[in-house]
Amino acid sequence: MDTALLIEKSILVILLFLVSLGAAAYMTYFERKLAAWIQDRVGPDRAGPFGILQPIADGVKMFLKEDFIPAKADKWLFIIGPGIAMFTALITSAVIPWGPKLHLFGRDIVLQVADINIGILYVFGVISIGVYGIMIGGWASNNKYSLYGAIRASSQMISYELAMGVSAITIVLLSGSLSLNAIVEGQSAVWNIVYQPVAFLIFFICALAELNRAPFDLPECESELVGGYHTEYSSMKLGLYLFAEYTSMFVSSAIMAILFFGGYNFPGMSHFSGNTLAILGIAAFATKIFIFIFVIMWIRWTIPRFRFDQLMHLGWKSLLPLSLINLLVTGLVIAYKNGWF
């Protein structure tokens, strides 16, 4: 194996790890500031100028808290639960193309850890195992509220995965590839959102449900379940659960930007080339991710929580049939364009 390639990929992996964690940390700050702004408050402003050091203070607080394991808990599973949650949140970023090629030290550096030709399936694979962190943690706590949270989380995530997958298939049909890189490159002229607004809407709603974000945050519904699946967790184990949620928010915003909003493509791309293009591409991608994160937070502080039966009705009786019809129409249009009729 090429040693330089190995070093290059290792640096990229470490960088991605740090960026995901840093982004997640500052998203907590951003969310609190945004909530304060929406509710006409000041928000965190004690740690550093404008409270900018608040995430660090929170992190230190998390580490210094007592790490408690309930007596009747399944100790081993109780410990690995948050680990699985964080693991699945982090590994999705391996297949995301972060920008056009970068030229450094006489080498073409591809800003993607692994360009596998089934990238989008990999993402769905990781999403489908993401529920284990919550289920195992909730069950191992040996607490009825935790168990309720875990059960809600798993049924919700299984239900919304279907509509999400079907709406992503329309994108695969459009671009003719399962590789995320090919999907992004196929959108250099027109973004997929123009052709697939319905699929985007379904995908976005399902992404909110998969992330357990409001209005779908029933697994941690504090008014009914104390704290949901992480009721018994404390210290950095709780921190990992909360952190994993923000990391997945970051990653799924990136996935939505790739599938529907052209990834690192931006208008007027053809006027640039080389490293300028790469840096502008990364900036465009980051901006899109930021906008998605903002919208997700905005929704949390605007829309009240669903009831559980409403959630199931929305998933199975509205979103899934709608996404199937959308898939059928897309298929028919593509077949017509290829001269099948």
């Binding site: 489908s128 289920m135 049924s155």
Partner: protein, 170 residues
């Protein structure tokens, strides 16, 4: 050579995880070991350059079916005291049935390649999604469509079984 070492490590891990499914006392832990086994099998598919099969195995088995298993087991909340005692006769029957299946598998697999040898010839593109799709939708189209009809029938059957009788009449 290194491929062979990796395959031996993966193989023994898979066997260990599969054994733990049977040996572990707690049903939830058994299911979790089964998930680990599926992951290790996924990694073996990747070693054989069958990326599509690997990811589908991860999504369908580890992601969907095992989540349902875990879901049901968590709801049942099996305790040792509540565990039904199996009769000695059926235990013996299970032992004989399982043993004969094991024998059949051993005889079926005794002529296969020794561990690790097949990985050297993994440069074929057959496991990649494009080739697989072309094959499925041309050569094996009849079998593929028949399988999907079978799935639909199973789904309809499951829904009918889950519905209560008066709901059907209505």
């Amino acid at each position: 050579m290194s491929l062979q070492i990796i395959s031996i490590i993966l193989g023994s891990l898979t066997l260990a995880a599969a054994l733990m499914v049977v040996l572990s006392k707690h049903p939830v832990r058994s299911v979790i070991y089964l998930v680990v086994t599926f992951f290790l099998i996924t990694s073996m598919y990747i070693m054989m350059n069958a990326q599509f099969l690997a990811v589908v195995n991860m999504i369908v088995y580890a992601g969907a079916i095992m989540v349902l298993f875990l879901f049901v087991l968590m709801l049942l909340n099996l305790n040792k005291e509540m565990e039904p005692v199996t009769a000695k006769g059926s235990q013996l029957a299970a032992f004989i049935a399982g043993g004969s299946l094991f024998l059949v598998l051993i005889t079926a697999l005794k002529d296969t390649l020794i561990l690790g040898q097949s990985y050297r010839e993994n440069h074929s593109q057959i496991g990649l999604v494009k080739e697989l799709g072309n094959l499925l939708f041309s050569k094996y189209i009849v079998a593929f469509e028949l399988t999907s009809i079978l799935f639909i029938a199973a789904m309809v059957g499951a829904i009918l079984l889950a519905k209560r009788e008066n709901q059907i009449i209505e």
